[in-house]
Structure formats: structure tokens, C-alpha cells
């Protein structure tokens, strides 16, 4: 195979083209086959490439695959070329794997929907965009994929476009993402201006000096707020992070993700939990060489990540819609990932992306199975006692619940623990920041366990609260009114249950790829981290502390310690912290269990239920001023008077002149002849006289 990486991204594109052009006339079975097999091709190719090049990737080799030169103007060059290194390899592995099983799930979930072919067209198109984003070898091509996934997200959120609120949610997602993309785009322009390249790395064959290689040659910016506006590497890093806050739903641009749950549940699982929303983490990790030179941007990222994690977890505690709980949970977990990146533990962030993809996709698909089993009911208040009727869904979601809560030996435990430990011992952050960040992370872990226990208890245990008054609640995801007939809940078909089982296995065991070294006292190396190491930059702490004006004695001491490899004392600290976080997770579950099995319908504080009124705040502060300004300023003054005035004025002028000249038209044919002869005489006269 000449272009293996190109085939990975092309397979879903061909699927999307086939389904988009001819899908309308295909049977559901054929559509399902095409959609799943194209993703299967990508998955198999990804695994094949990974197994074939595993050792080379581990040693830091990069495989460039040049397809064609896309733009070449002056000294600006962008190629359509792909890159496989350990970071993109990890990403394509779990993206294609999880996506394949979600595709399989969707073939059952979407059965009978009149937009069946449209759904899988978008889903395959999304796969193409996501894989382009991940496999691109320059920032501009990554931006193409970045926008592509945004478009597919928009199309799929508004998939059931007959309902207006779905369209509003889609538009909201699109517009909020545009705000972030604006920052991203400016960051890229600035990066190109400074480094003269938008490629990631050097490629001798094409004579390219990469922007990240450039960043590694720079000296670090000081840790000071003035660096943000200095137009240097910190400004670039902050602008790129603005892009990440949009795509990955961080404060202040997280508001679109909860509304995005208006889309079909497989979409929520694939795009808004497992893959697309982690694109921000990917981008930040990809640009880690830039971030390690920008301590201010790292601090901002860590603080925003931690704040988002806590903020979203508290809201998740008080939602009644099963998908909304999971949406806020996703935002919260994404906050963890940025916290990890912000404290310099990029590999821990990516590891959490990896495990999160499994257990969150599992939880979303499980909720989808519950929603279908309950005939399109999403309100937790109308569930309960489903353990008996949906045994497989219950068992698999049970695994997901333990994984996300951080119960020891499940995948979420390893990744979350690593993040908490790394924030506790983070170097280069001023003053008490590492401890504060760790504390916020720990509180969030507790809340995570509590709200997930609440979700599980309300769904699967306790009294059955459905039936009877079922019909008076407008369900949110109704796409097929015929399927709405009330009936007893039932277990979902095999096409939906099998993916659940596969993902449950992943959610249980994916964490063993990256067991934190401290837990085995350094005996078992953290394979995941070692694999990623060549792709990620490490902060040079000495350089940092020399610049950091706020650094305390403690930080300097810590930075001296990092010069050596981790010592036995470090492992001891890690084990202590692990024990603490395990206790936190278990106590969260116990707390949630006793609280919500006694009072399942406990009314949470209004402030939380209303999501801190953030939507209302944005509406008042941003949306309404723009609306009023557009209507009363741009429309009623500028459009009506200035633009319409100019257009109408031009029309009036033409009409007046026409009226004036029309008097020459007497209707007498002979007078026209006179004009013709007169004109001819004038012209001849002119030439004769000249």
C-alpha cells in the first residue's frame, strides 16, 4: 500500500460520498453495511500500522506521508500531508475503535428513522474530518479537520430539524465554536508570523523547518500577565487555548455542549464525548513545545481546567435529564484533561482522553439504550428499577460508573489518579497553586462519584417511576412519533448491546496500558507515558524558576528534585495520594448511594438546577445587546436608511432620466429615420471636416 495513512482518512470519505449521493435509494441494511465497513477499514488499517511501527514510534520516529502541495504562495507553504507519530497513533487507534462500535450501535438506535442515510453520511463525514484533524502534519490542515468536525457536529445536533429547539442548539454550538476558532485562527497567523512555518516538525525531504521545532529553540517567556499581550510565544499559546476552550467546552465557552445533547445519542457518544471534544486536548498536546515555553498560558490552562471540572460537576449533580448529567460530566472530565496539560503532564491528559473515550462512550450508549428501552424517555424522575428489565445495559453501565468514579483497578482510576498526582507535584507553578489545583481536582472526583451514583440509582435501582403519567412529559429526543407508544421498558436489540459489552471491556481494562509508576514502586514502567514521550515536550524547570518572579522556596526545592528521576520518596507520595483518591471515590459512591436511594427525587438547589444561570447571563450580556444593536442600529438605521436609501436612490435616478429622454420617442417611424440620417451626417461631417 503506497499511502496507508491517506487510506485511513479516505475510507470514511468514500463512505460519506456513496451514502450522500445514493443513500436515499438504499435499504437500511446496505447503508449500515457501508457506513460500518468504511470505518472498519480505517480501524483495521490503524491497528495494522500501529502494530507494524510500534517500536519505531516508541523511539520517536515520525512517518510523513506527502500527498500534494496544497498552498504555496511566497514563503507560505501548506501541504496536504499526513503525519504518524506516537501521539497521532494513539489518537487514531481509539478514535477508529470507539467510532466503529458507536457506528454499530447507531445502526440499531436509528432503525426506522427516515433520515437513516443522512445520519450515516454525516457520521462518516465526521470520521473523515476527525482523522484529518488528527493525522494532519501542519496546523492549517488540522484546522481544516477542526472546522470539518465542527460542521458535522452542527449537522448532527440539528439532525431532527423538524423541532425548532434542536436547530437552536445546533446554531448555538456552531456560533460558540466560531468564537473559539477565531482565537485559534489568530493564534495560527501569529505563529506563522513568528516562526515562518505552519508545519509541526522539520521534514528534510521537503526542506521544511517546523513551527514546533522553532518553538523548541526559543527561550521561555516569563511567568507574568504582561506576557499574554506581548505578542510572543505566550500570546500564541493563549490564543490556541481559546480555540481549545471552544471545541472542548471549557469556561467560558462550554455552554454549547449541554445543548448539543439534542442530537441523537450515538452522536453525543461519538462527537460530544469520545472524540471531537477532545480535539482541544489533542491540539494543546500537539503544541506542547509551544506551551512549555509559555508558563503563563500553562497556568491559565490549569486554572481554567480545574475551574471547569469543579463547576460542571456541581451542575451535573442537579440535572434531571440523563443525557444532561453525562454532558456536564463530560465537560468536567475535559476540565481534568486541561488541568493535566496545564501542569505539564500532557501524557496524563492524553491518557485520560483515552480512558474517557471508552467509559464515556459506554455511558452515553448505555443511556441511549435506556432511552430507547423507555420509549424515548430521558427524565431520570420517570425511571427507576430498570435493573431487572435491562440486565445487559445495567451491567455494562455499572462498569462505566465504576470507571468514571475512579474506583481502583478500573480505567478511570489510573488516569484520574495520574492527573491528581501530577498536579500535586507540579513544578513551576507559583505559590500554593499545585496544592490548590489538586484540592479542586479531589473535590471534583468526589462530586463525580456522587453524581454518577445518583444517575445510576435513579435509573436502575429503587421504585419504578414510569407508566401512568408517561405521556404528559414531552420527551426530548423524539424522532419517530410512531415509536412513542407507551409500553413496558425492554432490553435493546443485539446491535446495541454488543457495542456496550465491547466498550465495557475497554472501560474496565484500558487503564492497564498506563499504570502510574508509583503504584508498582517503579517496577512496571508506565507504558502509555513512555510511548507518548517522544511526541510531547517537557518543561525545562530550571529555565522556569529562573524567570518565575512569584516562585516560592518550595517550588525551587521541588524543581531541584525533578532534575533527578523520580525517587522512592516520590513513589511513596504517589501511593499516599492514590490511597486518598481511592477513598474519595469510594466515599463519593457510598455518600451518593445512601443519599439518593433514600431520597431519589431530592430537589437540588435551584442555582445548580438552573446551571448557575450562565445561559441567562450570556443572553443578557452578549446575545441581547447584539440582537438589539442589530435590530435597532444595523437594521432600522443603517440598512433601512443608508443601504436601502442608496439602492432606491439609484433606481429613482434611472427612472427619472428615462422619463426625461422618453420624449424623443414620438412613435413616428419617419422621425426615427431623420435621427438616423442626422447622426450619419454628423459622423461623416466629423471625418470630412477633420
Amino acid at each position: 500500500m503506497k499511502h496507508p495513512l491517506a487510506n485511513i482518512i479516505l475510507a470514511p470519505l468514500i463512505g460519506a460520498a456513496l451514502l450522500g449521493l445514493f443513500g436515499k435509494r438504499m435499504s437500511e441494511r446496505l447503508i449500515a453495511w457501508i457506513a460500518c465497513s468504511t470505518v472498519a477499514i480505517s480501524t483495521i488499517l490503524s491497528f495494522y500500522l500501529f502494530l507494524q511501527h510500534r517500536e519505531a514510534l516508541e523511539l520517536g520516529e515520525r512517518f510523513h506521508e506527502y500527498l500534494f502541495t496544497w498552498i504555496n504562495v511566497g514563503n507560505f507553504r501548506a501541504d496536504f500531508s499526513l503525519l504518524l507519530d506516537s501521539l497521532s497513533a494513539i489518537y487514531i487507534l481509539f478514535v477508529t475503535f470507539v467510532a466503529f462500535w458507536i457506528h454499530v450501535f447507531a445502526t440499531g438506535y436509528m432503525r426506522g428513522d427516515k433520515g437513516y442515510w443522512r445520519f450515516f453520511t454525516y457520521l462518516n463525514l465526521f470520521m473523515f474530518s476527525m482523522l484529518t484533524l488528527v493525522l494532519a502534519d501542519n496546523f492549517l490542515l488540522m484546522f481544516v479537520g477542526w472546522e470539518g468536525v465542527g460542521l458535522c457536529s452542527y449537522l448532527l445536533i440539528g439532525f431532527w430539524f423538524e423541532k425548532n429547539s434542536n436547530n437552536d442548539a445546533a446554531k448555538k454550538a456552531f456560533v460558540v465554536n466560531r468564537i473559539g476558532d477565531f482565537g485559534f485562527a489568530i493564534g495560527l497567523l501569529l505563529l506563522f508570523l513568528k516562526s515562518g512555518s505552519i508545519f509541526y516538525f522539520d521534514d528534510g525531504a521537503r526542506g521544511i523547518h517546523g513551527a514546533l521545532s522553532w518553538a523548541m529553540e526559543q527561550s521561555a517567556d516569563p511567568l507574568a500577565s504582561s506576557a499574554i499581550f506581548a505578542g510572543g510565544i505566550t500570546t500564541i499559546a493563549v490564543l490556541l487555548f481559546v480555540g481549545a476552550t471552544g471545541k472542548s467546552a471549557q469556561i467560558p465557552l462550554f455552554v454549547w455542549l449541554p445543548d448539543a445533547m439534542a442530537g441523537p445519542t450515538p452522536v453525543s457518544a461519538l462527537i460530544h464525548a469520545a472524540t471531537m471534544v477532545t480535539a482541544g486536548v489533542y491540539m494543546v498536546s500537539r503544541a506542547s513545545s509551544i506551551y512549555v515555553k509559555a508558563p503563563t498560558a500553562m497556568l491559565i490552562m490549569a486554572v481554567i481546567g480545574a475551574a471547569t471540572a469543579l463547576f460542571a460537576a456541581t451542575i451535573g449533580l442537579a440535572q434531571w435529564d440523563i443525557k444532561k448529567v453525562l454532558a456536564y460530566s463530560t465537560i468536567s472530565q475535559l476540565g481534568y484533561m486541561f488541568l493535566a496539560c496545564g501542569v505539564g503532564a500532557f501524557s496524563a491528559g492524553i491518557f485520560h482522553v483515552f480512558t474517557h473515550a471508552f467509559f464515556k462512550a459506554l455511558l452515553f450508549l448505555g443511556s441511549g439504550s435506556v432511552i430507547i428501552g423507555m420509549h424515548h424517555e430521558q427524565d431520570l424522575r420517570r425511571m427507576g428499577g430498570l435493573k431487572k428489565v435491562m440486565p445487559v445495559t445495567f451491567a455494562t453501565m455499572f462498569v462505566g460508573w465504576l470507571a468514571i468514579s475512579g474506583v481502583p483497578m478500573f480505567s478511570g482510576f489510573f488516569s484520574k489518579d495520574e492527573i491528581l498526582y501530577r498536579s500535586f507535584v507540579a513544578q513551576g507553578l507559583p505559590g500554593p497553586w499545585p496544592k490548590v489545583l489538586w484540592f479542586i481536582g479531589a473535590v471534583t472526583a468526589l462530586l463525580t462519584a456522587v453524581y454518577m451514583t445518583r444517575l445510576m440509582v435513579l435509573t436502575f435501582w429503587g421504585k419504578e417511576r414510569f407508566g401512568g403519567s408517561h405521556s404528559d412529559v414531552a420527551s426530548h429526543g423524539s424522532h419517530d412519533e410512531d415509536a412513542h407508544h407507551a409500553g413496558p421498558p425492554r432490553e435493546s436489540p443485539p446491535s446495541m448491546v454488543i457495542p456496550l459489552v465491547v466498550l465495557a471491556v475497554g472501560a474496565a481494562f484500558a487503564g492497564y496500558l498506563g499504570i502510574p509508576e508509583g503504584l508498582s514502586r517503579g517496577k512496571i514502567p508506565n507504558y502509555f507515558e513512555h510511548f507518548l514521550e517522544p511526541s510531547l515536550a517537557h518543561r525545562d524547570t530550571k529555565e522556569w524558576t529562573a524567570y518565575a518572579p512569584l516562585s516560592s522556596a518550595q517550588t525551587i526545592k521541588a524543581s531541584v528534585e525533578t532534575a533527578e528521576t523520580r525517587t522512592a520518596g516520590d513513589h511513596g507520595a504517589e501511593i499516599t495520594l492514590t490511597v486518598i483518591s481511592s477513598i474519595i471515590a469510594l466515599s463519593g459512591i457510598v455518600l451518593g448511594w445512601f443519599w439518593f436511594s433514600r431520597k431519589p427525587l431530592w430537589e437540588p438547589p435551584r442555582l445548580l438546577e438552573q446551571k448557575y444561570y450562565v445561559d441567562e447571563l450570556y443572553d443578557a450580556a452578549v446575545v441581547q445587546p447584539i440582537k438589539v444593536g442589530s435590530r435597532d442600529g444595523l437594521w432600522r438605521v443603517i440598512d433601512v436608511h443608508v443601504i436601502d436609501g442608496a439602492v432606491n436612490g439609484a433606481g429613482h435616478l434611472a427612472s427619472r432620466m428615462g422619463t426625461a429622454i422618453s420624449h424623443l420617442q414620438s412613435g413616428l417611424a419617419r422621425s426615427y429615420v431623420a435621427f438616423v440620417v442626422l447622426g450619419a451626417l454628423l459622423i461623416i461631417g466629423y471625418f470630412v471636416m477633420k
Binding site: 420624449h663 414620438s666 412613435g667 417611424a669 419617419r670
Partner: protein, 100 residues
């Protein structure tokens, strides 16, 4: 041998007669004939100048003018017949429907 100026003089005379006819006559058929007269005045000038300069281009032009005149006659007569059928009259001054 008749000098060139005579031919050109006759051509100018015929052209002027034709032009004046178009100016002052109201009958569509007459105007039509006057136009033919003007065309043939031009033809006369072309032929005589062609002969004078020993160049066949002018004669070729005459053939083109004749072809166009034939086509024009067909269309023009058809229009005149159509006007007469509708109005029972050939007075061009009465044909002014398109007047503003």
C-alpha cells in the same frame, strides 16, 4: 469610356432620391422601395469603384448586399402584409403602438 465621377454622381442622386422618399412618403410599400433604391445606389458605387481600382472585392460586396436585400425584402414584405391585415392601412404614421 464614361468617367468614374458620372457613376458616382448617379449613385449619389439615386441615394438622395431614396433617402428623400423614405423621409416624406407615408406608404410603407413606397418607403420600402426607396430603401431598395438606396441599397442599389450603394451597389452602383461599389461596382464602379471596383472597376476603377481593378479590385474584385467591391463586386463581392455587391453580392452580399443583394443577398441581404433579398432576405430583407422577404421579411419586410411579410411585416407589411401583417400590418395591412391588422390595420387595413399602410400609413406608417398610424403604426405607433409602442409610443410612450
Amino acid at each position: 469610356m464614361v468617367p468614374l465621377s458620372w457613376y458616382l454622381g448617379l449613385s449619389a442622386l439615386l441615394f438622395t432620391i431614396g433617402a428623400m422618399g423614405v423621409f416624406i412618403k407615408r406608404n410603407a410599400i413606397t418607403i420600402f422601395l426607396c430603401i431598395e433604391l438606396m441599397l442599389n445606389a450603394a451597389n452602383l458605387a461599389l461596382v464602379s469603384l471596383s472597376s476603377f481600382f481593378g479590385d474584385v472585392d467591391g463586386q463581392l460586396f455587391v453580392f452580399i448586399v443583394m443577398t441581404v436585400a433579398a432576405a430583407e425584402a422577404a421579411v419586410g414584405l411579410a411585416i407589411i402584409i401583417s400590418i395591412f391585415r391588422n390595420r387595413e392601412s399602410l400609413n406608417v404614421d398610424e403604426v405607433d403602438t409602442l409610443k410612450l
